[in-house]
């Protein structure tokens, strides 16, 4: 159930393929894989966004992600999960977050993936600062609700 905070760009699809093909992956029992990939938009609140800088609280962020990963595992009996999240400077369409969940049946995979994303969005200590296309900068004040 690894979690990782990444300081440089990553390809979520390549990371998924690498993760699924490692020898210790739970082959045979998987019936469902749910994947969420969040990417950076080039607009927010009707303004053009040229770049974004993400910061986190080293230690607390990883600890929080590990805790929700373990909680999802226990609650839905997952076979495996993977959470990756970027920090640092991002350009539009750069991947920000990957949440992947493996289970025997689709209900558990869908529900756990959604729950993990909503927990991450509402409580994991990350903060976004946007650089707009007009050159000004601002902190994103809050995340929109997912439900």
């Amino acid at each position: 159930m690894p979690v990782e905070v990444l300081e440089s760009p990553f390809n979520p699809w390549q990371r998924l393929q690498d993760y699924e093909t490692r020898p210790e992956a739970p082959h045979g029992r998987i019936g469902a894989t749910a994947v969420f990939v969040g990417t950076m938009r080039d607009f927010n609140l009707d303004d053009g966004v040229a770049a974004m800088t993400l910061e986190h609280y080293p230690g607390m962020t990883e600890g929080y992600l590990e805790r929700i990963s373990a909680e999802a595992d226990a609650r839905w009996g997952l076979l495996d999960s993977l959470i990756l999240h970027r920090v640092g400077r991002l350009a539009p369409q750069d991947p920000i977050v990957l949440v992947a969940v493996w289970s025997s049946h689709r209900r558990e995979a869908f529900e756990a993936c959604r729950w993990l994303m909503e927990e991450l969005k509402s409580k994991a200590p990350f903060w976004k600062r946007e650089t707009l296309t007009d050159g000004s900068a601002r902190w994103v004040e809050e995340n929109t609700r997912g439900y």
Binding site: Y57, M60, V97, K123, A124, W127, W139, V140
Partner: protein, 77 residues
């Protein structure tokens, strides 16, 4: 007792610093840490707090050597 204080994101800019060390009497709370570390600034309504990297209320007690962090609402994902 002494505690270590951290500010993140917009709150770090508001405070003009990322870290501080403050002394306060035994039995103090997170609220007391804010008062000691904020140079008299009023606490923004939406500020969140953590002690030793766990979310807490401002009424939570702090102990000597604790790390107390203050930050705005989180915006990851």
């Amino acid at each position: 007792m002494w505690v270590k204080v951290k500010f993140f994101a917009s709150l770090r800019e508001l405070m003009n610093r990322a870290d501080a060390r403050v002394e306060l009497p035994e039995g103090g709370s997170v609220e007391d840490v804010w008062l000691a570390a904020s140079d008299g600034r009023e606490k923004p309504a939406n500020v969140l707090a953590a002690v030793n990297m766990e979310y807490v209320d401002f009424s939570a007690p702090v102990r000597d050597g604790d790390e107390v962090a203050f930050f705005p609402p989180v915006t990851g994902g």
